[in-house]
């Protein structure tokens, strides 16, 4: 868990999610499991791939994954460097 030191402004939130989505789009490993993704985006997957294929595939919009990661405080990125005592 990576809790932000304070609540982010809307600019900071957008910047963090954007940076993370870029990483995901280029194939970075996810901080959320496949199960979690299916749970959150079931309807979306069905819409994209049909009822049958949705059980096997979970390719999604990287922005949506990044947002999910952000909401659950799993992105190890912050606007504050968190360097204590230095």
């Amino acid at each position: 868990m990576v809790k932000p030191t304070r609540q982010h402004t809307r600019f900071e939130k957008a910047r963090i999610i954007g940076a993370r989505a870029l990483q995901i789009s280029m194939g970075a490993p996810l901080y959320v499991s496949e199960g979690e993704l299916r749970e959150n985006f079931m309807e979306e997957l069905i819409q994209l791939y049909g009822t049958e294929d949705a059980k096997a595939r979970f390719v999604l919009d990287p922005l949506k994954i990044a947002m999910l990661e952000y909401e659950s405080h799993r992105i190890p990125i912050d606007v504050d460097p968190h360097t204590e005592g230095e």
């Binding site: 868990m1 990576v2 809790k3 402004t9 809307r10 600019f11 900071e12 957008a14 910047r15 963090i16 954007g18 940076a19 190890p76 990125i77 912050d78 606007v79 504050d80 460097p81 968190h82 360097t83 204590e84």
Partner: protein, 526 residues
């Protein structure tokens, strides 16, 4: 070949024989002649070396004298500059910031004794909520309006927390582009303003610029507005302790003494060309209107002109006779021998016409307004504005007296007052036009205009023209001049602003562009 006549004349003035002068000046300017050596002169003039030597000495002697004269002139000028510099005013030291005194000012309009006020202050300190006394006072006022007169500590805590949450949601995010928002928020309603609004603002005979022209005037930081006006409020009692602001007659009197009265306003001026004198026929009703009398006019005129003034009646003069050059009664006898000239008479007429007999400069008209329905108070509305002089007038309440001349407020009361004046004037004009613009936009404009310690216009000569960044300035107007100058001097651009970064092709320092990201390593993750 041409003989330079000016050079020849100069040579002859120095005492050189005409024959030699003629030869020397042949196709030569003075500058060419004075550098000739003795040998060359001998050749040109076809004389012996002794004669030539004399001529060179004469020529060089004259140039040296001229140089000497020039040198003394220079030192004189330099000395004058030095003496002018020494007379320069020294800069006043900064005033110390007195916190206690400031606190008294802040708490002046606040009802500190109200139990709700103290309860809310206690709750705020307990909760660690940062909230200004004025805001708390506003909350108290609101509560009183709703019929509440007491708060339990729990209620006070709730009120404070709710106020804090409201303030937090109203606060603008850091890196938000407030300037752009302001420009749009003023610009859009501005398009709905009528271009030219002629409007008599409720008050008779006082016509104030309104609408878009007035907004432009404020934003341009003009030195004098098109229609300067003042509202002069008076003190409760006069120096003798008698009521002043509710007494129409006394207010009328003050208005009369504020208003500029020239000779022309109270008398008809006749120039008697044949007799070489001026005849002033005083207008009784105008005199009464201005609260003056004949003797007063006579005294003032004679003091201002330094002339003896004849009157038809010493106690109640109606016709005044002014003769140029007559400073005392005895001068009248000599008049026949030495009559004044025609030009002197015309000059005198000009002077008399423009002479201010009563009132303050720039106050063109002063009208009494009122009375106020609740307080029975009268105030004076003026055309023309002169804040510093009016403020010194006895009986005037300086705290409430108002002018729409922002530059005057800046000169007399300082930048902070000017900042508030800009806000007030904008709010008034926008409200008059029926437009709703949030004050915070106007605050932004006013802050930008005054943040450098003086009132700057928004535009070429002010804010945009004095930006620090070269690229930002050159993006605005006269691109090449700015770039060239900066290149010659070798200026630096820190690329802090928006414009510079757009030119360079970087993300701008606004919103998302100003956020810097850091990776949080696993050890640091909670």
């Amino acid at each position: 070949m041409v003989v330079k006549s000016a050079t020849k004349k100069k040579l002859m003035d120095l005492g050189i024989q005409e024959e030699f002068a003629h030869r020397l000046a042949d196709d030569r300017k003075w500058d060419d002649v004075k550098v000739l050596s003795a040998g060359e002169i001998a050749q040109i003039c076809a004389t012996d070396s002794g004669q030539a030597q004399k001529i060179t000495e004469v020529i060089q002697g004259s140039t040296k004298a001229a140089q000497k004269q020039k040198a003394t002139e220079k030192t004189l000028i330099r000395r004058r500059i030095v003496s002018r510099r020494s007379r320069k005013k020294s800069i006043l030291p900064l005033q110390e910031y007195n916190v206690e005194e400031k606190m008294v000012q802040i708490l002046r309009d606040i009802d500190v004794d109200n139990p709700m006020y103290s309860a809310l202050i206690d709750a705020a300190t307990k909760e660690g909520v940062n909230i200004t006394p004025k805001t708390i006072n506003d909350i108290v006022k609101g509560l009183l309006e709703r019929g509440t007169s007491k708060l339990t500590p729990a209620q006070a805590r709730k009120v404070i927390l709710s106020a804090d949450a409201n303030m937090a949601s109203a606060r603008v995010d850091p890196h938000e582009a407030v300037g752009i928002t302001t420009a749009q928020s003023i610009g859009e309603p501005g398009t709905q303003m009528t271009m030219r609004t002629f409007h008599y603002a409720g008050v008779a005979t006082v016509n104030v610029t309104q609408g878009l022209p007035r907004v432009i005037e404020i934003v341009d930081a003009r030195k004098v507005p098109k229609t300067p006006t003042m509202k002069i409020y008076l003190e409760e009692t006069d120096s003798k302790g008698k009521p002043l602001k509710t007494d129409e007659k006394k207010v009328q009197e003050i208005a009369a003494s504020l208003e500029t009265t020239t000779t022309r306003d109270i008398a008809s001026i006749d120039v008697d060309v044949a007799q070489r004198h001026l005849n002033l026929e005083l207008n009784r009703s105008n005199l009464r209107l201005k609260k003056m009398n004949g003797t007063e006019v006579r005294d003032k005129l004679s003091r201002a002109l330094r002339l003896f003034i004849q009157a038809d009646d010493d106690d109640k003069p109606k016709v005044l006779k002014i003769i140029p050059g007559v400073t005392k009664e005895d001068d009248l006898k000599d008049l026949a021998n030495d009559p004044p000239t025609y030009t002197a008479l015309l000059q005198l007429e000009d002077k008399v016409k423009k002479l201010r007999l009563k009132g303050l400069p720039d106050i063109i008209r002063a009208n009494v307004q009122g009375p106020n329905r609740d307080t029975g108070e009268y105030y004076i509305a003026t055309i023309g504005s002169n804040l510093s002089k009016v403020s010194m007038f006895s009986g005037v309440d300086r705290a409430r007296t108002y002018t729409n001349n922002i530059n005057e407020i800046y000169q007399y009361l300082g930048v902070e007052a000017a900042r508030q004046a800009i806000i007030n004037e904008m709010v008034i004009t926008l409200e008059e036009a029926g437009l709703e613009v949030d004050v915070r936009h106007l605050l932004t404009v006013s802050d930008v205009m005054t943040s450098e310690g003086e009132v700057r216009a928004i535009g070429r000569h002010g804010v945009s023209g004095t930006k620090h960044s070269i690229l930002a300035r050159s993006a605005f107007e006269v691109t090449v001049n700015h770039l060239l100058r900066a290149g010659v001097i070798g200026e630096r651009d820190e690329l802090r602003g928006v414009t510079e970064n757009i030119i360079v092709g970087q993300p701008v320092s606004l919103g998302t562009g100003s956020v810097e990201l850091f990776y949080i390593p696993e050890e640091a993750q909670a």
